[in-house]
């Protein structure tokens, strides 16, 4: 944890109550995020990967407080935003924004592009006067590859890729330092994906924005991220430099995940590690190491002893008893 980090997440937990019966008594908790810590430097991209249900989306939303964390702290520029509320929280939101997966569901169909982007400017009083406001909207559209005459149109008039650009322009409007991207390209056609990934990288270079990039596609995450965090059942399995995690994965789960990605090159056939079964329920996670039920190399102590996240090489963290 460097002191100059933009974002510091400490022991963050998000537990959802499961209610049963007439009296809606809380019977159990889904431990969607269960004690996660990491930090993010300005201008850095941290990729967040894992299978569905591992808690990566919940973590992304809890960091920007779209979901209330159960415990833990989120320090943004050194200030704990989990303690803020009302106007204080709203004013801090200028620093961190979000881009959503579904470009069809995340834009109000009854607002024009100008209104969608302008709303963000109005909330934070960033533009004084109509001339200034429309100038800034034109500038924002231009920076995401749309033109000024798109401003008066409605979301349904755009393709999926263009809508995602509008969502990015809306996030950029308040000049954030951090953008949480929740599967921003998985709903797009593969030929359009690359346009959006390139755009996000260009914007980062120009403006020094940090991204928390949540996605299930490992190849996309490796491409865009500086560091990658692999999650399993609400916990960190491995956290390392993006290249290191793909070339030398240390956690058996990461190894299996990477070996399962199909590669195009017919000559480069790798040994595939097949994981038996499915992800266990996060309501009642396995004892010890959460991965031991599917792990090909599990030992008796993995059943009882929970592995701590330890640094086995510079900047390479892994939660496994057996990783070397």
């Amino acid at each position: 944890m460097t002191p100059d980090s933009l974002l510091q997440v400490r022991d963050l937990k998000v537990h959802f109550p499961v209610q049963h019966g007439l009296l809606s008594r809380v019977k159990a908790h889904v431990k969607a995020v269960d004690g996660i810590s990491f930090s993010l430097a300005p201008g850095e991209t941290l990729g967040l990967v894992g299978e569905s249900g591992c808690g990566k989306t919940t973590l992304g939303r809890a960091v920007v407080r779209l979901i209330e964390p159960t415990s833990g702290s989120v320090l943004f520029n050194g200030e704990d935003i989990t303690k803020l509320d009302g106007a204080d929280l709203r004013s801090r939101r200028r620093g961190f924004q979000m881009i959503f997966q579904d470009p069809f569901g995340s834009l109000n169909p009854r607002m024009t592009v100008e209104q969608i982007i302008g709303e963000a400017l109005d909330i934070h009083s960033l533009a004084t006067g109509d001339g200034e406001r429309s100038k800034r909207i034109t500038g924002l559209l231009d920076s995401v590859g749309l033109s000024a005459n798109h401003a008066q149109r409605y979301p349904h008039e755009f393709s999926g890729g263009q809508r995602q650009r509008i969502g990015i322009a809306r996030a950029l409007a308040v000049e954030p330092k951090l953008i949480v991207c929740d599967e921003p390209v998985s709903a797009l056609d593969v030929s359009v994906q690359a346009q959006i990934i390139n755009l996000l990288q260009d914007l980062q270079r120009e403006r020094g924005i940090a991204y928390l990039f949540v996605a299930h596609d490992l190849a996309v995450v490796e491409h865009i991220s500086h560091r990658v965090m692999v999650m399993y059942l609400g916990q960190v399995a491995e956290l390392a430099d993006a290249k290191a995690i793909v070339r030398e994965p240390k956690h058996p789960y990461t190894q299996a995940l990477i070996s399962a990605v199909p590669v195009v090159d017919p000559e480069a056939k790798r040994q595939r590690i097949m994981l038996p079964g499915d992800v266990p329920s996060p309501i009642d996670p396995p004892s010890g190491c959460p991965f031991h039920t599917r792990c090909p190399i599990a030992e008796p102590r993995c059943h009882s002893e929970k592995p701590a996240l330890r640094e086995i090489a510079a900047g390479h963290f892994v939660a496994c008893h057996l990783a070397r």
């Binding site: 030929s191 690359a194 996309v220 590669v263 499915d278």
Partner: protein, 362 residues
Amino acid sequence: MPSILSQPGTTPPAASPKAPLLSVRNLCLEFHKDGKVLSAVENVSFDIAAGETLCLVGESGSGKSVTALSIAQLLPAPPARYPSGEILLNGRDVLRMSKTELRQIRGGVVSYVFQEPSASLNPVFPVGRQILESLHLHRPDAAKDGEVIRLLKLVGIPAPDSRLKDYPHQMSGGMQQRVMIAMALASQPKLLIADEPTTALDVTIQAQIIELLRELKQRLGMSILLITHNLGIVSDIADRVAVMYAGQMVESGPANELLTRPLHPYTRALMNSVPQLGSNADRLTAIGGNVPQLGAFPSGCRFHPRCPKAQPECSRQEPEWKEVELGRWGGASPGGPGGAPPPGGGAGGGERAGVDHHYPPR
């Protein structure tokens, strides 16, 4: 004008050593709605031999799913209409079959597995009963619990006898997709059509399902038509690949050759725009523009507005579909340097699609 439309599309496939199980010839598909005609598929041709896996690759709106649904006539007509073309299944044209014949084809000779298993299974019946229903229709003699258990075991469901009474919601996505495959296999189909069977699944489960399909094909000797946009999956499972764009076929050929040496600019652009795990590429080569919408396909070569190699004539003239090398079909200009006639007696029939003129076939 290259008179492609008058090309003899009905050349009997007798020249090939073994007649293909499925032979789609110059298929055209239109949707009629409110007096408007939208052409969704134009002059698409491909063959699938017995025991072969063909991957149909393309983005949304390329017409791959409606082509696959046409094979068992699953599109409601109207609005769907087939102005021309043939779909020969074991030499008989599906487009001219009676309702009774079609009922035997559907789920019998041809079975489907769809993308979203939770939407394809009936939520109010146990999975065992749903598989039994398929057996009752196509193999009444075998319609017993024992056969259902055997099928569930075949697709790798652990302790199958205890899952017979399970409802779909009690199973995970990967297990549901295995049940769908078991149901599709119940009729012992000759052709299994899988439309994006792993898109809704996690990568580890996807690997399990692809492995299962490959294993089943070998064990049961059936043919597979797999629809996907993931070129990695193609590399894993395909014998041959056909690439579609905007309702037409742009390139087809053996999987290894096509993936190592794509001939069409669209295929190449598609491969370059997808990030590869472990590659050092600093920047992706994006394809500009958007996938064209149905009813607004560009003139000439349909890829020309997005093509990095487009020439002025690409917007005017439709490229001709030719066998540019033995077994490899792609674009060639009618009179241009790529217009070499297909090697004598070439296997397969007359296929055609909008292909770039100017990529020199090597």
